[in-house]
């Protein structure tokens, strides 16, 4: 953790926050628009990709993760790794299971 006496200032001004907010609005519109097209199995991939871009922007700028130290980054990303394991293996199990009763 940074221990300078003035750790408080993040140097993020109104302009940056406004741009971030606008970008999030635009991405919301994009995800609604894109959902009208059928990409088959890639529908969910596209939707999750856009959501993850939005989530990253929120974390980096609104939550100031961009200005945080390594330790905070590790603790922010670790639950996502666990989530990846949980959901990844759940999906894998579902698609590879062979029905017992045919």
């Amino acid at each position: 953790m940074s221990t300078h006496d003035h750790t408080e200032e993040h140097h993020t001004g109104l302009r940056v926050y406004a741009a971030v907010c606008l970008a999030l609005f635009v991405l919301t519109a994009v995800t609604v628009y894109v959902a009208k097209f059928d990409f088959g199995d890639f529908n969910i991939v596209v939707a999750m990709l856009i959501a993850s871009i939005k989530a990253s922007i929120v974390a980096l700028y609104f939550m100031h993760l961009k200005f945080e130290d390594k330790l905070t980054w590790i603790y922010a990303l670790y639950p996502l790794f666990l989530l990846f394991l949980l959901i990844g293996f759940t999906i894998m199990e579902t698609f590879t299971r062979v029905p017992v009763i045919k």
Binding site: M1, S2, T3, H4, D5, H6, T7, E8, E9, H10, T12, G13, L14, Y17, A18, V20, C21, L24, F25, T28, T31, V32, V34, A35, K36, F37, D38, F39, N43, I44, V46, A47, M48, I50, A51, K54, A55, V58, A59, Y61, F62, M63, E68, L71, T72, Y75, A76, Y78, P79, L80, L82, L83, L86, I87, T90, I91, T94, F95
Partner: protein, 205 residues
């Protein structure tokens, strides 16, 4: 954690636990808590993944009964509230009490607007005889959005407390604004989770 604090303290040049250290420790603690929140919702996301993979048609047909417009409006409302919350943290850093209170109030009102919107959405579903036991899609829909709504209410409670604290002059010059920043982190997480809930529930292509 204690080693981190000690390490930090050694740099504080004998002033004991400085404001900066306390501030960073509180922030770090909130990030840890947010990790547990992500995993709490993570269980539901895993259940969603499993059942959507098993019943793709049921998910597709059921999601059409949700109102995309209402969902999109709520997404915009929450993003905007995150924007005003970020600005509120800025205002507290600049010790601008007036704007801090205005921005916190706007954030609170956005949270309330989200709740009202959700109330109408739930009512419409109940009116059409759609309940959590209708099928697995709606079981997950009500559970996920309900748990999220609970977080919105908790966040609104925190923001309300911050408004009271600001009114009492707790974030004046020389005082730490830590509660505003830490409360802000919580509010942003509520936004973050909705960013995933919206496409997963309303926009199954």
């Amino acid at each position: 954690m204690s080693s981190t604090v000690e390490h930090a303290e050694s740099h504080a040049h004998g002033h004991g636990l400085g404001d900066a250290v306390t501030h960073n420790a509180a922030k770090f603690g909130m990030w840890l808590f947010l990790g547990t929140e992500i995993l709490l919702f993570g269980g539901l996301f895993a259940a969603y993944a499993l059942f959507r993979a098993k019943f793709p048609d049921l998910f597709y047909d059921s999601h059409k009964k949700l109102d995309v417009t209402l969902g999109a409006v709520n997404t915009i409302v929450l993003i905007f509230s995150s924007f005003t919350m970020a600005l509120a943290v800025s205002a507290s850093q600049k010790r601008n009490r007036k704007w801090l209170m205005i921005l916190l109030s706007v954030t609170f009102i956005c949270g309330a607007a989200f709740g009202v919107n959700k109330y109408f959405e739930y009512s419409a579903k109940f009116h059409h005889n759609i309940f959590p036991d209708t099928n697995i899609f709606f079981a997950l829909y009500f559970m996920m959005t309900g748990l999220h709504m609970l977080h919105v209410f908790v966040g609104m409670g925190i923001i309300f407390a911050l408004i009271i604290m600001a009114k009492q002059g707790r974030f004046k010059e020389g005082n730490r604004y830590t509660p505003v920043e830490v409360g802000g982190l919580y509010w942003h997480l509520v936004d973050l989770i909705w960013i995933y809930l919206f496409p997963l529930l309303y926009l199954i292509g």
